[in-house]
């Protein structure tokens, strides 16, 4: 991993991967690297929390290891598990081939590395330097958060049969949360915190231009401007950057170089995900598209 010297440099490197980070995000990201602290990202859906982790991994040439959280996730799904069927098979094989094998030897061979199923957190510790993305931590239970807190403060994990695994270099950890539930304060205290907002008009145009070079400048500008206006409409689900990109992609796929009332009405499904929102926007399309 090549070291990053400043926030500006990190911003540049992220830009090279197609992720345009604002000054704040670049600074906080740099701090996470420099202080070796996990980074907790919150913000509206579709503002690029998850893709930041991917961009950091790409920018630094590291592997991205992703742990998707869900209700009821536990340590065996995050850390490691033993492959029981294969262990039994192994046992049977030993039994069939050599009847005089020493018991201890057989026992030892059962808990061999090759029967260990590494799950994301263990993989991140072993393969570090790597980027560990803990996605949607707010979906996991409290118990899991406590477990994660422990791993994040020591960067080591003990497997009773094998010993302790310690990361030589702490992995870069990015946690994301959608605030469906409040993340425990103890976990927050371990992390640097950043709230990602929707980008401003200029940056959003730039994002579309960078991510979708095939889309014309004019269309990119029209789409970004319309989305910015749609966000002001007080909708159930304001569109995120992901939706902006979807929309631009959809319009481009239709072969229309411009965004007018007709094409917009036909492609609103790419931007809005609620019927109420669609109705509302359709009513004021003229005004939204006026430049």
């Amino acid at each position: 991993m090549a070291a990053v010297g400043s926030a500006g440099e990190l911003g540049e490197r992220l830009r090279a991967t197609g992720y345009l980070a604002g000054d704040g995000l670049a600074t906080v990201g740099y701090l996470a690297l420099a202080l070796k602290r996990p980074l907790l990202l919150e913000g509206e859906p579709g503002t690029g929390k998850t893709s930041l982790a991917a961009a950091i991994a790409e920018a630094l040439g590291l592997e991205l290891i992703r742990l998707q959280c869900y209700e009821g996730i536990d340590a065996s799904q995050a850390l490691y598990d033993w492959d029981f069927p294969r262990q039994i098979l192994h046992l049977r094989t030993v039994e069939a081939t050599s009847s005089d094998a020493a018991v201890e030897e057989v026992e030892k061979s059962l808990f061999d590395e090759r029967f260990l199923l590494s799950r994301p957190v263990l993989r991140a510790l072993r393969e570090s330097p790597a980027v560990l993305l803990v996605d949607e931590i707010d979906r996991a239970d409290d118990e899991f958060e406590a477990f994660l807190l422990e791993v994040l403060s020591t960067y080591e994990v003990t497997i009773p049969e094998l010993g302790t695994v310690t990361a030589e270099v702490p992995p870069i950890v990015v946690l994301t949360s959608n605030r469906t539930r409040e993340v425990h304060d103890a976990l927050k205290r371990r992390c640097l915190y950043h709230w990602i907002d929707h980008p401003g008009l200029a940056r959003e145009i730039e994002i579309v231009r960078t991510r979708l070079p095939e889309v014309s400048t004019r269309l990119a500008e029209q789409v970004a401007r319309s989305v910015q206006r749609i966000r002001e409409l007080d909708l159930l689900k304001p569109p995120g950057v992901a939706e902006t990109l979807d929309w631009a992609r959809a319009l481009d796929a239709l072969g229309t170089g411009v965004l007018d009332v007709e094409t917009a009405a036909a492609t609103l499904g790419a931007v809005l995900k609620y019927r109420e929102d669609t109705d509302r926007v359709r009513e004021s399309l003229d005004r939204l598209l006026a430049s």
Partner: protein, 385 residues
């Protein structure tokens, strides 16, 4: 990493940047900034200040923007914090110092004995009678709004006798059990223990988890006599399940009071909750506030599959159509919507207020909530949801 030596990095003296003007003791000034934030109500702990200092040292302490972002990342813990952070940041680095050292939440307080407000004159004899007869059963059914100070205190004590159960839902995770489906992992593990000999079949089935309960308590003027006790009721539930019960107050704005109610002592908890609610006894704009709740919390998951209890008399001053639309949204998200209306239990009550009429189609249950007996009924309804 050693403690940051900020003086040598020229903090406050960098050319071309806004001067922070601390000169001699910059890290003291930075730590003082942490204290100012704490005073403004942010949960700034010593280790966070330490992290902040390290973060500033890793950046350029002479640049106001770097100090700003370092502080935001290290000292804020939620989107609600950032607005206050911005204010304090602007004030502190403009050289303003908060006056006085009064912390926002009192560290301790002593409750002064209150003079009973209606002990004067001929009412005295009457009242004594009621009190002696009412200590438990009668008080249990009396309208809270009409209680004297002494009865209120008695009622507060009686809250201790409530033992709320919490609703449960089926968990995603399966637990070992004596019956249910076969658990291949545990069966194989048992087999492994017997060196591969077939072992007894192990079973598993789904366990139960607490279901989330959300209280939305109206604290507007018309609910004044009840809001206090409703918060007390919410407090007993939060104490039972601090992580699955959420409490918000609604009025002219939405305030989350769950953290305050997690304090164990009821009086202290209520006092802390009162400190954070800005619109106590104000007006009601149920529809708008409900929308804010759904946008910021509900839709993201707080109300999803939860038992939501709205405590309000439904005297909507705003647009009843908006209220109806928001209730439809809430009903679509929540598992059960229970409306507690203190007037419901009174003789002659009919749900005719515009607000209540708008929400009726979306309710699973409309309960009375003007007495302790009513609360017990509510707790039953919540537990059985």
């Amino acid at each position: 990493m050693p403690a940051p030596d900020l003086a040598s990095t020229g903090f406050g003296a960098a050319p071309g940047h806004a001067s922070t003007g601390f000169g001699a003791a910059p890290d003291l000034a930075l730590a003082g900034f942490g204290a100012a934030l704490r005073q403004a109500g942010l949960a700034v702990t010593a280790d966070r200040v330490h992290l902040f200092l390290r973060a500033v040292a890793a950046l350029d302490p002479g640049r106001t923007a770097d100090v700003y972002w370092a502080g935001r990342a290290a000292l804020c813990s939620g989107p609600d914090d950032t607005a206050r952070y911005d204010e304090v940041f602007a004030a502190w680095f403009a050289g303003e110092r908060p006056r006085g050292a009064v912390p926002r939440t009192p560290r301790s307080f002593v409750q002064a004995p209150l003079a009973d407000d209606d002990t004067a004159g001929g009412a005295e004899a009457d009242r004594t009678l009621t009190v002696s007869a009412s200590t438990t059963e009668v008080l249990r059914h009396r309208d809270i709004a009409g209680l004297s100070t002494k009865d209120r205190a008695e009622l507060a004590r009686m809250f201790g006798t409530l033992h709320p159960r919490l609703p449960v839902r089926r968990a995603h995770r399966r637990r070992p059990s004596h019956r249910g489906e076969i658990d291949p992992r545990r069966t194989l593990r048992a087999q492994l223990r017997q060196v591969g000999e077939p072992a007894r079949v192990q079973y598993r089935r789904r366990g139960v988890r607490p279901r989330r309960v959300v209280f939305l308590i109206d604290v507007s003027g018309s609910m004044r006599p009840y809001a206090d006790n409703l918060l007390r009721l919410a407090h007993t539930l939060v104490q039972r399940a601090p992580r699955t019960v959420e409490v918000f107050t609604i009025g002219t704005r939405l305030t989350r009071v769950t953290p305050a109610l997690r304090r164990r002592d009821a009086e202290f908890a209520l006092r802390s909750a009162g400190d954070v609610v800005p619109d106590w006894s104000g007006g009601t704009r149920l529809g708008e506030v409900l929308k804010v709740f759904l946008d910021r919390w509900g839709q993201r998951g707080t109300a999803r599959r939860a038992v939501v209890v709205v405590c309000s008399d439904g005297w909507e001053r705003g647009d009843a159509a908006l209220l109806g639309a928001q209730m439809a949204r809430l009903a679509a998200l929540a598992y059960r919507v229970i409306w507690l209306n203190p007037h419901r239990g009174k003789p002659g009550y009919a749900p005719v207020q515009s607000g209540i009429v708008a929400v009726l189609p979306y309710l699973d249950d409309l309960v009375a909530g003007h007495s302790l007996a009513g609360f017990t009924e509510l707790l039953e309804a919540v537990a059985d949801a």
